[in-house]
């Protein structure tokens, strides 16, 4: 059996599976909070301080955290809408073309373009298009699959999937400054603040 850590680090060398980040020797600053409440309040402050390139990491979803972070509404619904309508149009035109133009056959005395018969397929392709749009749109916006991320350089960050609540602010944020940003997060009640290498 291959060593999983070794496998991960080998896979992480594949460029496509790495996040696209600007060059720089330092990824940013990582702050750990001990409770969801502390994280929530800190997010509001980081948002109000005007940071744009930052994220929050929690082991479970926290209701309202998107508002506390000032996230804009997701653009995924638009992708879903377009792909769902695209699926519907594809299904109607494919069936209509086959049944009425390419190979017209009389089936049980119905007209060639019998649209009611096309509706189930149209519905299914609309659902399929919408579902694929939702899943792969989410993958695209989240830059998934990403097998490596600079945040993994912090051993503490492993607790983001267990019992740790984190804020990371990236060094290419215009407002970022290694010293003042660390102090800001410290002042917001972080139990631990560290700089993370790129």
């Amino acid at each position: 059996m291959a060593d999983p850590m070794n496998l991960r680090s080998r896979l992480a060398k594949i460029p496509l599976l790495r996040p696209s980040l600007p060059p720089g020797e330092r990824f940013g600053v990582l702050a750990e909070f001990s409770t969801p409440t502390a994280l929530y309040n800190a997010c509001e402050k980081v948002r109000d301080a005007g940071f744009t390139r930052w994220d929050a990491h929690t082991p479970f979803p926290i209701h309202g955290l998107d508002r506390a972070m000032g996230l804009r509404a997701s653009r995924i619904p638009w992708i879903v809408l377009v792909l769902a309508l695209g699926g519907a149009v594809t299904a109607i035109s494919l069936q209509g073309w086959v049944a009425a133009i390419a190979y017209p056959l009389v089936v049980s005395g119905k007209p060639f373009f019998s649209w009611p018969a096309f509706i189930p397929i149209t519905f299914e392709l609309a659902v399929l298009g919408g579902a694929l749009g939702a899943v792969f749109g989410m993958f695209a916006f989240n830059q998934l699959p990403t097998l490596h991320h600079p945040l993994f350089n912090s051993t503490r960050f492993e607790r983001a999937s267990d019992d740790g609540f984190f804020i990371s602010i990236e060094s290419w944020d215009p407002k970022f400054d290694a010293t003042t940003t660390s102090e800001l997060l410290q002042g917001l009640g972080a139990s631990h603040v560290e700089l993370v290498a790129s």
């Binding site: 409440t37 929530y40 209701h63 309202g64 955290l65 619904p77 049980s108």
Partner: protein, 409 residues
């Protein structure tokens, strides 16, 4: 945020009672007036006219009675399914549904006069017609007056019993805070849902399908049920928005709850279309005479634009209108959508009943409007009366906190 940091939320006890809003508190009076004027006016118009006017009266009366009945039954389903699934978010709006189903014993009064004029409505109750119609004669074991009246009485007794039992337990919990009551309601709701499903299906067969006893459609009960849910979600959205506008339940019924009611309305607009189209597709495909008559009649003459209008107005337009999140979070926009869906639901019932009376085409009548005013008035009076009997939210429900904190991520 789902954290204790936001608590306690301070709400004055008065804002949980309908008495603190003069407009909502007047509902029983206003409703009773509407009922008296509407129903007596309809009787005066219908019974004062010729035989055709009387037949028109009872058909219009049936549409209006079914309109309010479907909303009340939708309320019953809401209460039952949310107990059965231990829903937490819906606690602050559950009383709207409870108060709607509290109207069922009063709606039964609307069906009492119809029981005396069955021959005006149903071909199977006209002996001369049955004598010449082998199919009606074949169905006489089911479709005969004593059995039909007995079934209707049983439906209303069961529905009333469910409504009264759940409402009185819910009210008792307001006083004693006994959490065992929540468990009792949860245990009772699955069997009640089975009773609900069977009675609603058979009631729709009896009161709508047997208007044309030659027609077969096994999905019709589900279609009727879809109408019930569109009705109740539209009604609950309107009431929740209206009560918030009147300053009731500040911070108790929030945009989050209204948004979710809008989502359910949106979902069941699509469900109605799904069921309606499923019914159409199979009948269209098989093309059997005893099934196609239903649609042939509704796609002829001036019924055709009504049928197409129903597809557009009951499904396509509201489907795209209600789809964006911003619409469902904007109380004015959602209120417009909900009011429109109630109108469309009334048109749907009209479309089910009236082509049998007027196969020549869409024939609106004055009694359509007056019976609707009367039935809606009676329903609102009963709803308003129930709203005054206790707080507008189940104040000691163990899941109230969860509901107060509810947030659509």
């Amino acid at each position: 945020m789902s954290d204790a940091a936001d608590l306690p939320r301070t709400v004055s006890a008065a804002s949980l009672r309908v008495e603190s809003s003069p407009a909502w508190n007047r509902l029983p009076t206003v409703g009773s007036l509407m009922a008296a004027v509407g129903l007596l006016g309809s009787l005066a118009i219908g019974l004062g006219g010729n035989a055709a006017a009387q037949t028109q009266l009872w058909h219009s009366w049936l549409v209006a009675a079914l309109f309010v009945l479907t909303i009340a039954l939708g309320g019953m389903f809401f209460v039952l399914i949310h107990h059965a699934t231990q829903a937490g978010w819906s606690v602050t709006v559950r009383r709207i549904a409870e108060n709607a189903m509290a109207a069922i014993p009063f709606i039964a009064l609307l069906f009492v006069p119809l029981l005396f004029v069955l021959s005006e409505l149903f071909p199977w109750s006209r002996a001369a017609e049955v004598a010449h119609d082998p199919l009606l004669a074949h169905k006489a074991a089911l479709l005969n007056t004593p059995f039909f009246v007995g079934r209707t009485v049983v439906y209303f007794l069961l529905w009333s019993a469910i409504a009264i039992w759940f409402n009185s337990l819910s009210r008792r919990q307001d006083d004693d805070g006994d959490q065992e009551i929540t468990r009792r309601m949860r245990r009772a709701s699955p069997p009640a849902l089975i009773v609900f499903a069977l009675t609603v299906t058979f009631a729709s067969f009896d009161w709508l399908m047997s208007l044309d006893a030659h027609w077969y459609s096994t999905i019709f009960g589900v279609y009727f049920f879809a109408g019930c849910l569109v009705g109740i979600y539209a009604f609950m959205s309107l009431v929740a928005i209206g009560q918030r506008r009147a300053g009731l339940l500040p911070g108790v019924v929030t945009t989050e709850h209204v948004n979710l009611l809008g989502m359910l309305l949106f979902g069941f607009v699509a469900f109605w279309a799904y069921i309606g189209f499923s019914q159409y597709l199979l009948i269209w495909y098989a093309n059997l005479p005893e099934e196609t008559g239903f649609f042939a009649m509704r796609l002829a003459g001036s019924w055709r634009p009504i049928t197409i209008g129903l597809v557009l107005g009951h499904f396509i337009v509201p489907f795209f209108f209600l789809m964006p999140r911003t619409i469902k979070r904007n109380s004015t926009a959602l209120a417009v959508g909900a009011a429109w869906m109630l109108l469309m639901h009334a048109l749907d019932l009209h479309w089910l009943v009236m082509p049998i009376l007027h196969p020549e085409g869409f024939t609106p009548a004055l009694v359509d409007v007056t019976t609707m005013i009367g039935a809606v008035g009676l329903f609102l009076a009963a709803f308003g009366r129930a709203s005054r009997r206790q707080a507008l939210v189940p104040v000691r429900d163990p899941r109230l906190t969860e509901s107060l904190l509810f947030d659509n991520i």
